[in-house]
Symmetry: C2
Subunit: 379 residues, 2 copies
């Protein structure tokens, strides 16, 4: 027997109620039943985004939502500033370049958060149509201060749109697209929203919608204006991922029952517990500045085979965490604590790390991590 | 109590086994378990396509697969010939225009099949990079002879690529991408493949892959070259719609057990039964030339409120069929007979049509349609 414990920074575990909703006989999407369902989902998404206006649902994974953002805000040759401090920062760059933007990269050392003074100085020099950033850079566990960034951008370059990848941020910690003056906020279904992957979501500010009217990048499937028109009529332009939308209704209901404040506090508490545990094991947390409540990235100790850590945990204990990506491969491991996870799940993750590192020859006191986590959770 | 009978030309009913597979705890997609699953799915897709080479899986609905085809084969300004004989023909045109192609439309009266002589004459005049066509035009129930079209294209314009929307064709009737010399064949999960919507599939010929290397249309999420590289390593470039892929494995297994020949014969038999039933009720089948085995489109009789037919069947009997789209709204209704449907389901559809039309004031002999269908099914 081997149970499966999914504790990666996404995809995240799906609650049984959501799985059950997705397992019901499929309904057709051009029916009053689906329209009523979709209307409820739209209302729930607006609640989750803490923002008035349309949250557009796309049948795609989060990268599709990022592409929709670029293609709808920008025209070929437009200047883009990309804050690139990890693998998902690189994704913004790749998309902007694929669409022919004049793409300037502000490189941030992986694991660090962007310096707002540097953002200001870059924006002062160029006439950037938009700046692209991660709220939570899943590949490093670092957050960027998107609230401060939006304020800084407004000061020096008020016309520049602020586009945020909030895929491991929205529904994880307090993020306020409307209040903070963000212009585009993307998320995906397989993180805090407790669903399988296959849905992306994009919210735009009023001025971003106005920019979309003028943007000349080619797009069709990801044309947010076409989608807004349909979705305001309680349907989608193209065939929606019906079963995922049915699951989304249930997941949003669960989130509303828990309440945003409790959800944010739960994620913060789990993060504190995991970090206390890692500290008690003598391990170093990777991000140097702001740490995301979605994921804890931990430096692999000297002399230990870092790539073996997630593989061994997966094979021997059925616990899925994540390794490092690209340049961080073998140098960090990452524990997800977002979505449908609780204190008990964190004990599973910590226990797994203890056992795995000990097996790999790292010297630690077994139970020390678990004890430290318990202390945090008991407060 | 109201049971729900989904008998539209897609989405189609999902077997309980497939729903169950999708309802299992989510697995992470960067694991050996998922890679083994995906490898099995890739092999099954190649079997279903009756074609060697890669069938690329995308997290998108069928329209996303169509867009991927245009964006990967064509560069802005390239000449495209679109066979437009229905709503999905129009979709090719819209996508080609959105991507800046020099788009020539060969209009076909809705319900008719394209004249191959006309295709030849258009292709002789222009240097078309590609011709776009539906194998089965779901909005009218008509088929285009894509085998003949590919042959005709080769005769007069051997360089022109033949791109086929086979969304309600592949797995419905015998379609041979490789043998017929097609260059791009798109399908979606929610038709013959017995899954919810959310996955699109694209197969390209070797020369289409070569064209993709040169095509300059902007693309990222739908970049088939990036995907091919990943999918050959048993994973996807972007996060896959994991639960749908898990369902796909089961659905492909069911299809292989039934066998392609039996699947095609079942769809043809159901089509014959439904058409015999409609004839026995004095109704006229809409397509004038080749009829698709996926769907039967029926003319609304004189004096009957056509829009009321699907609405009434839905509300009063829980039977979902489809009405007409765009210019055919109120003029036809469409019964789907593809995917996870059998003779009994067709009796449900025919019985529903009898009851509904009688209620709406159409004079018919109740049971005549059912009897005619039974006779076909009994042979």
């Amino acid at each position: 027997m081997r149970k499966y414990h999914l504790l990666a920074p996404g995809p995240t575990p799906v609650p049984a109620q959501v799985l059950e909703a997705m397992a019901r006989p499929l309904m057709h999407h051009r029916t009053p039943d689906f329209e009523a369902l979709f209307e409820e989902v739209r209302e729930g998404l607006s609640w989750l985004y803490q923002a008035p206006g349309d949250v557009i649902t796309l049948a795609a994974s989060g990268s599709g939502g990022m592409e929709a953002t670029v293609a709808n805000l920008m025209s070929p040759g437009d200047a883009a500033l990309v804050i690139e401090g990890g693998k998902f920062g690189e994704r913004w760059t790749e998309i902007c370049r694929a669409y022919g933007m004049n793409t300037e990269v502000l490189s941030v050392e992986w694991g660090r958060s962007v310096d707002l003074g540097e953002v200001k100085s870059r924006l002062e020099k160029g006439r950037h149509r938009a700046v692209f950033v991660q709220a939570s850079e899943t590949s490093t566990g670092a957050k960027h201060d998107v609230e401060g960034l939006a304020r800084a951008a407004r000061e020096v370059s008020p016309e520049t749109l602020v586009a945020v990848d909030a895929i491991t941020a929205l529904g994880v910690y307090d993020l306020r697209p409307s209040e903070w003056g963000l212009d585009a906020v993307v998320t995906g279904s397989q993180k805090a929203m407790m669903l399988p992957p296959g849905l992306a979501f994009v919210w735009l500010s009023e001025r971003a919608w106005a920019a979309a009217e003028k943007a000349r990048s080619p797009r069709y499937y990801f044309d947010l204006l076409i989608e807004r028109k349909s979705q305001r009529k309680s349907t989608t332009a193209w065939t929606p991922a019906i079963s995922l939308v049915a699951g989304l209704k249930v997941a949003l209901g669960m989130m509303r029952e828990e309440g945003l404040e409790n959800i944010f506090e739960r994620h913060a508490r789990l993060a504190r517990g995991v970090r206390a545990a890692m500290g008690a094991l003598g391990l170093e947390i990777f991000p140097a500045d702001l740490m995301s409540e979605a994921v804890t990235a931990v430096r692999v100790p000297e002399g230990i085979d870092g790539k073996a850590i997630p593989r061994k945990m997966q094979n021997e204990q059925g616990v899925t965490i994540a390794g490092g990506q690209s340049g961080l491969s073998g140098k960090i491991f990452r524990i997800g604590h977002l979505g449908y996870v609780d204190e008990s799940d964190m004990l599973v993750a910590v226990g797994g790390v203890e056992a795995t590192l000990a097996d790999l020859g790292y010297s630690l006191e077994k139970g020390a991590g678990l004890t430290a986590a318990q202390e945090v959770f008991g407060k």
